[in-house]
Amino acid sequence: MRRGFGLGIAALAVLLLYPIFPVLDIGVEAAVGVPPRLDRQLVSIFIFAILALALNLQVGYAGLLQLGIAAFFAIGAFTTGVLTVEKYPFQIGFWGAILAAPLCAGLAGLALGAPTIRLRGDYLAIVTLGFGEVVRVVLLNLENITDGPRGLNPIPAPWLPAWLPGADAVDVTGRRQFLTMYYVALGLLALLVVVFHTLERSRLGRSLVALREDELVSACMGLSPSRTKLVAFAGGAAIAGLAGALYATNLTTTAEPNTYDFNTSIMVLCCLIIGGLGSLRGALLGALVLVGFDNVVSPLVTRLIQRGSDGSGGVLLTFSNWRWIIFGTALVLMMRFRPEGLWPSSRLKRELHQHE
């Protein structure tokens, strides 16, 4: 506990300072010749880490197999889009959007959860999977609202109050905008980490663990499983919506609805499983490993492989085409040899090894 706390503070300090002293960038640039712009990738990692925390609440803590988290991510992103783009009259700006997006996503979670939350685990899995498809299809089809495959853009950057130093200077390089995004994402992630850390030791956290361990007995203790599940479901959806708002703002577009498909949901689930289901630190590590692999390692390797070839590539030579084989194999191997993940919580570790 003490050690974890110190580690957390240290990590936070490094991340706070990183955009100012991009140590790794300088190192990699010296070695490969191109700066990987790790600070930009870090924003994606923060956003996916928030998404992973949302899913962790549902799958890790409550044991609800949710396979459609991308739907809530998308709802958050498109809520932000509709409420902030210039062509619609709302234009509530980033700060309004990061309140509205979780609200909408949470309500959607409630609307889906209320009729289905009593279903057995596998049935719930298929319903959430289906919901993910439905949201994607609806977003694609409501072309007048969402601009269909083009997505809504441009989404304005977060504004800063005038009294903040440098807030009214002209931002030619986009540096200030980037830094705002970086620190907002980092701040929200840190806030959520603290919230979940508290949650794990709280009454709600206990009823979540009780629910996961033995639903019937927790019901016989008077803790309504439906209510606990619904809280986890709607809460997770809301946080995923928040991640969506950040994602869209960071990209300055909602991107096309197909960005939020089943593969995205599974990718987030992969983050959890690789890091350790139900483990706060594991979710963070998982997001770091997976998004880092996708956005940093994979392009670098592709560049290295194709450096020797004539550039026509071919399906086998593009490293990112191997992505799903690598992820898939990793999942299989993890389940076989380290089901508790790379950095599990102690409670989950016990649970997964109790049969041995």
Binding site: F90, L99, L142, W159, A210, L216, C220, M221
Partner: protein, 450 residues
């Protein structure tokens, strides 16, 4: 006869063709220890499961203090079902009326026509919305002129130069036979969809209510707690945590009571105020800078709410300190005080049974159901258990138990019911049961009565 605490009336449970329990009547008086005995497979645990809401009885009634354990039908339920129906209906109607087109007519059209002009006119949008909702022709402004367009926006029914003229022309167009027929048709479709959604939503609400009229959780919150024949502890939790889970519903705590009531409306209210404020200022940094404190306050409201959901436990906050004290008292009562921080699955068998009892007691039940509490216990542990059960009764909790161990049953029970093949064959005091020839031939003849 005084008012019974628990009344089981003609309880019948059938699984497929098998009648596990048939027409069983039980009356448990407040403050007594009531035992149900019978050979293996006589249906004792099935009775327990029916009482605690795990099984839905095929027929028969179960009442606690004269009130049925099934949630009664209230007027509020009808309101809820109607509300669900309305929501589903409205949602379906939105799609039937083509939400995409609606958006185009009400929002996009009105933004586009004002580009470089006066800005979005909410009044115009509202008039378009009303026209669309009534499936009537509406006014679109393009290049300074007013076009009267049909519901789907495909046909132009007229052109006007001023808004007043447009309104007059619109009214005339709405009365023309063809648009009128189209409106009527569209409205009919919407009405049908609304009614369909209403019916589906209400029926769904009713179905969910019926399936959840009596759940283990609702029974537990009425004041019935139980233990399980095959011990079911939360194995990964410590002994203390197990009891705390039991306490969680029973003791909301003083501090959280107020926060519980205040936090959600505060968070919601803060959110709404914020949204309205943000809507009014638009994206203008100058105005919004002034609003930053409000935004921070709103964010804090949310944060406070989330924190309240997961409020600090272990050390610190009052309510959990209180819960911890109660939990320790309960553990002391069952004799597990020295093992508070052990993992529950590492406990000895007898200790696990007592922890289950402590966890059940933590819900502050009026009636405690014990399913074979002495199974697997050695003689010393059994004697301690008998004392514990008596203590529980003396502390004011009525006990209903299933037990095979005759020394325990005869030693502590005030009254005993005997089941065989799912039917009650006898009921009475231990002495009466001991001498009942039916019981002896069915069951007790094979066993030493101790």
């Amino acid at each position: 006869m005084s008012e019974s605490l628990l009344e089981v009336d003609k309880l019948t449970m059938r699984f497929g063709g098998l009648t596990a329990v048939g027409d069983v009547d039980l009356r448990v008086q407040p403050g007594e220890i009531f035992a149900v005995i019978g050979p293996n497979g006589a249906g004792k645990t099935t009775v327990f499961n029916a009482i605690t809401g795990i099984y839905e009885p095929t027929s028969g009634a179960i009442r606690l203090e004269g009130r049925d354990l099934r949630a009664p039908l209230r007027r509020a339920h009808f309101a809820w079902w109607s509300l669900t129906g309305l929501l589903v209906g409205a949602f379906l109607m939105l799609f039937a009326a083509n939400v995409d087109q609606l958006w185009s007519a009400v929002v996009k059209q009105n933004v586009k026509q004002n580009v470089g002009g006066t800005g979005f006119d909410a009044g115009e949008a509202w008039r378009d919305w009303v026209a669309y909702a009534r499936a009537e022709p509406r006014v679109e402004r393009r290049t300074g002129r007013y076009f009267i367009v049909s519901l789907d926006g495909a046909t132009t029914l007229g052109v006007a130069r001023t808004p007043e003229e447009a309104e007059v022309k619109r009214a005339t167009a709405a009365r023309a036979p063809a648009p009128r027929a189209a409106s009527a048709r569209a409205r009919r479709v919407r009405l049908v969809v609304l009614l369909l959604g209403l019916a589906l939503g209400a029926a769904g609400g009713f179905a969910v209510w019926r399936q959840t009229r009596r759940t283990p959780a609702s029974v537990a919150s009425r004041g019935i707690a139980r233990t399980f024949q095959n011990i079911r502890l939360f194995q990964q939790m410590s002994v203390l945590e197990n009891v705390l889970v039991g306490l969680d519903r029973a003791e909301p705590g003083r501090a959280s009571g107020a926060i519980n009531a205040l936090a959600p409306p505060a968070a919601l209210g803060g959110g709404i105020v914020l949204l309205v404020a943000a809507l009014r200022t638009g994206a203008s940094p100058a105005l919004a800078g002034a609003l930053l404190p409000t935004i921070v306050a709103g964010a804090l409201c949310y944060a406070a709410w989330i924190f309240h959901l997961g409020a600090f436990s272990r050390r610190g906050v009052t309510r959990d300190a209180a819960a911890r004290t109660s939990a320790l008292a309960l553990l002391d009562f069952v004799g597990l005080a020295p093992k508070t921080d052990a993992l529950s699955r590492n406990l000895a068998y007898g200790d696990q049974r007592r922890l289950e009892i402590a966890r059940a007691l933590a819900t502050r039940p009026r009636l405690l159901l014990l399913d074979e509490p002495a199974a697997g216990m050695n003689p010393t542990e059994t004697v301690a258990l008998m004392k514990l059960i008596r203590d529980i009764r003396d502390a004011g909790t009525t006990v209903l138990l299933i037990e095979h161990h005759m020394r325990v049953v005869m030693g502590i029970s005030d009254r005993i019911a005997v089941l065989e093949y799912g039917r009650k064959i006898a009921e009475g005091t231990p002495e009466e049961i001991r001498e009942n020839p039916k019981v002896i031939s069915a069951y007790l003849g094979k066993e030493d009565m101790g």
